[in-house]
């Protein structure tokens, strides 16, 4: 039942569609916006219009991009022989923050999930394979989530890419820095043991 005048109710309905925003929160945000000076409200409206008009997916890696290619793909300082495969554009941000990776990315836009009926055809897998030769890629790093869907995706990709004669690596599983060993689950701890490495005498 709509209690409010037309435009206000429309605003509440639209806000209510946002993730994590229920009807009550939608109402609260709507009233906040009503009280806002026109300039501020217009800035928000413009930002939304702008982002929808200008941002699309990168033609090469399917990251979000302003223009045909994203900032990373068009950066000449990036190592083009290395591709890091991730599930979502947000994962790129996480990897970028480490400052450890200087190659390019490829966003699959999801992960294989048999239970939801998502197979390789629904992901940007063919696009990844098509990039390998023209870009002279020598190593593909599979950086999907360490959960069952991500693991299935990584296994599928390694099976697909290995025969093409390039190096296929998977990010390591291990213990989070700052955690307690006693709370580590068996699978993670098992993999951490498997992937152990010898300590060099001089620290590194």
């Amino acid at each position: 039942m709509s209690v409010y005048a037309g435009p206000v109710q429309d605003l509440i309905d639209e806000l209510g569609r946002l993730p994590g925003v229920g009807p009550k929160s939608a109402q609260r945000i709507a009233f906040y916006l009503l009280k806002l000076p026109t300039a501020d409200a217009t800035r928000l409206a413009d930002a939304i219009t702008e982002v929808k008009a200008r941002v699309a997916f990168c033609e090469r890696c399917f990251n979000i991009a302003e223009g045909p290619e994203c900032g990373i793909c068009s950066d000449p300082r990036r190592d083009t022989h290395l591709i890091c495969v991730v599930e979502e554009p947000r994962d790129i941000v996480a990897v970028e923050k480490t400052g450890e990776f200087r190659g390019r990315y490829h966003v699959l836009q999801g992960a294989i999930s048999p239970i939801e009926g998502i197979g390789p055809d629904q992901l940007k897998v063919a696009e990844l394979v098509a990039r390998l030769e023209p870009e002279d890629v020598t190593e593909v790093i599979l950086c999907t989530n360490p959960n069952i869907e991500g693991e299935a995706t990584a296994m599928y990709l390694s099976r697909l890419l290995k025969p093409l004669g390039l190096k296929v690596t998977r990010i390591a599983s291990g213990l989070p820095v700052g955690g307690d060993l006693e709370y580590a689950d068996e699978l993670t701890l098992g993999r951490a043991l498997e992937g152990r490495r010898e300590l060099e005498p001089d620290g590194d």
Binding site: G20, D121, I148, P176
Partner: protein, 238 residues
């Protein structure tokens, strides 16, 4: 309300909000349970990998109105062989999906739970091609939809059984035949699976007959559920 403990297998998970997940469990004593696991998607979650589909776990839950809340988890078996092998995983997921469809919330079904755990263990240990179809057929029998495989459903003849029809719920002889054809080898496998010789049927090497049984069992289960199993054909094997 009181916390309760149970053992269960994780059937599937849904993302919820920022870092939470809804997990669907097939439990030993409480039937299918849907519960929220708070913060599992954070790297430092104390639940770690324990709440992933196929995991066999001991859980402590706090009952809620719609969803229970997971408070503690310990793993019993995480079936690493299945998780590390794409082919096994692709076969384990239909098991989970079938149980998710068959089991009811708040309705204990100990037998189905035990069958699921047994099937996962067999799959992890031996990887026999008949684990999944065997499970489907046994689960249907448990539901009261055991297909007739030792005589013709229409006339009762025991010789010359050449067809299988899921509408009729069993095999048919040459003169009554309907539905799809069935080979003598596949028929013998069906009879052994349903006739208490599952163990010997499971040790059969993969071949055309086991593939036939696989297709047939899937079709029969889908017929009973009145929906397709989504996880059967996603094109993982390749």
């Amino acid at each position: 309300m009181q916390l309760y403990r149970d053992q269960g297998v994780v059937l599937r998970t849904w993302k919820l909000g920022e870092a939470d997940r809804i997990v669907v469990l097939m439990t030993k004593g409480h039937g299918k349970v849907r519960a929220v696991a708070k913060g599992v998607r954070k790297t430092r979650s104390k639940f770690g990998s324990r709440l992933e589909p196929t995991s066999h776990i001991a859980v402590q839950l706090y009952p809620g109105r719609e969803l229970d809340t997971v408070t503690q988890v310990d793993s019993i078996d995480h079936f690493r062989a299945i998780r590390d092998d794409l082919d096994l995983l692709a076969r384990a997921v239909p098991l989970l999906e079938a149980v998710d469809q068959l089991a009811l919330e708040g309705e204990p079904n100990r037998r189905l739970y035990e069958m699921l755990v047994g099937a996962l263990r067999t799959l992890a240990d031996e990887g026999s091609p008949l684990v999944v179809p065997g499970f489907f057929l046994k689960a249907l029998a448990l539901e009261g939809f055991r297909p007739v495989v030792d005589h013709c459903v229409s006339c009762g003849a025991t010789e010359d059984l050449v067809a299988f029809d899921e509408d009729a719920g069993g095999v048919l002889c040459r003169s009554c035949r309907r539905g799809g054809a069935i080979s003598p080898d596949a028929l013998s496998l069906l009879q052994r699976i349903l006739g208490g010789q599952l163990g010997s049927a499971l040790s059969e090497p993969p071949g055309p007959a086991s593939h036939e049984v696989e297709v047939l069992a899937t079709r029969l289960l889908e017929h009973h559920l009145e929906r397709r199993l989504r996880s059967v054909d996603v094109g993982l094997a390749g």
